[in-house]
Amino acid sequence: MIPAQFDYVAPTTVDDAVRALADAGDEAKVLAGGQSLIPVLRMRLAAPTKLIDLGKVAELRGVREDGNALVIGAMTSHYDVVRDPLIAEHAQLIAMATSTVADSQVRHRGTFGGSLAHADPAGDLLAPALALDAEMVVHGMDGRRVIPASEFFVDYFTTALRPGELLTDVRVPKYTGWHAHYEKFNRVAQAWSIVGVAAAVQVEGHTIQQARVGLTNMSSVPVRATGVERALIGQEATPEAIKAAAEHAVEGTMPVADGNADAAYREHLAKVLTSRAVTAACG
């Protein structure tokens, strides 16, 4: 099928994009990479009256340093995130998770900010953003505000973005020297995560000094596995210690049952994948 009719604008600056969004009202949708939105339009699951395409807003692309943080432009493609030297050095977990998103063609078009704003609970970039304490920089007609990842994801496909607000940048603190791994479980090629685990650790000698663990698709929003983190800190990175810590992975989760897995199976996966992700991150 083809999408229902809509109007289309392609602003070239953030200011113009914000104004276009304000002018368009409630029935407008922002088009980032379009790799979720265009299939949704084709299936007529949504029929916005206007699309505001950010593809020509050059200032929204790219990664830069700002003191102790990286600033990732919302329209930076997955392909560019995976290859970016700053992300590789300071936020390896994001590159690793991004490399598992969908397939090569989708990664060429899909964007970092688009994935976060879409807020699919099975999306692979939400848990890393949460685990790394990323901050969402948003712009609207009332100006700029910053939303911590812990407050940004509200429910299924729902974020703290207000009507008329645009996600423009994501600020990620630098995790220089940390080691990371994203462990994704799915059954077939290019499938969404049934469960995914994002882990980053700072290890000195054999001792885990700091740990960040986020869970994909274990609730309607990404979940920070704080119980696992607490259990890891100060431990030797042994298989036994990691396995014991991973037992905390289901705390605070509310996994759904769907065609891929029931809730108990997701809980099982969360523990097993946490153990694998932390083990791989510890090297």
């Binding site: 083809i2 790799q35 299939p39 395409d53 090569s104 063609q105």
Partner: protein, 177 residues
């Protein structure tokens, strides 16, 4: 809405509805029916083309998003009646059964080889993850991609070199913007 787009080396100026998908534009307006539509869900990859040198699923791109861009389809690969080395490798390795997935498989394989000039079997399988073959003919597709990589490696036969230079100027035959 008015767009300017270069497809297989020819520049077109066209008026399109914003909702027109790139694949529709290619097939229905330009007659580039070598690019096919295999699914309604952007899973199958049969409609893969290169947009400014990168593979995309042209059913998940609007024609208006291609404004100012360069598109290469399966129909733009052969030169002077000579198949592109990847096309020839698919032919030589019987890497198709019904053939419906072939245009997308070839376009994605060229993209893969531009990233990795000598992928092992696992890298090929991961690189073409976004392309489905309903005949399940993957064995020969993987062989064809590795065969093409061998043909196109630096110092490969004059024929492959000539094709590459004539076509796009990079080793694997994809122009990078």
């Amino acid at each position: 809405m008015r767009i300017t787009v270069t497809v297989d080396g020819t520049t077109y100026l066209d008026e399109v509805e914003p909702r027109t998908l790139l694949v529709q534009y290619l097939r229905e307006r330009l007659g580039k029916v070598g690019t096919v539509v295999g699914c309604d869900t952007s899973n199958c990859g049969a409609c893969t083309v290169h947009l400014d040198g990168h593979s995309v699923k042209s059913c998940a791109v609007l024609a208006v998003q291609a404004d100012g861009c360069e598109v290469t389809t399966i129909e733009g690969l052969a030169r002077d009646g000579q198949l592109h080395p990847v096309q020839r490798a698919f032919h030589d390795n019987h890497a198709l059964q019904c053939g419906f997935c072939t245009p997308g498989m070839i376009m994605q394989s060229i993209d893969l080889l531009a990233e990795n000039s000598d992928p092992d079997e696992q890298a090929v399988r991961e690189g073409i993850e976004g392309n489905l073959c309903r005949c399940t003919g993957y064995q020969n597709i993987v062989r064809a991609v590795r065969d093409a990589a061998h043909e196109m490696r630096p110092g490969a036969g004059p024929e492959a070199e000539r094709m590459n230079e004539a076509e796009m100027g990079t080793q694997a035959g994809v122009r990078r913007s």
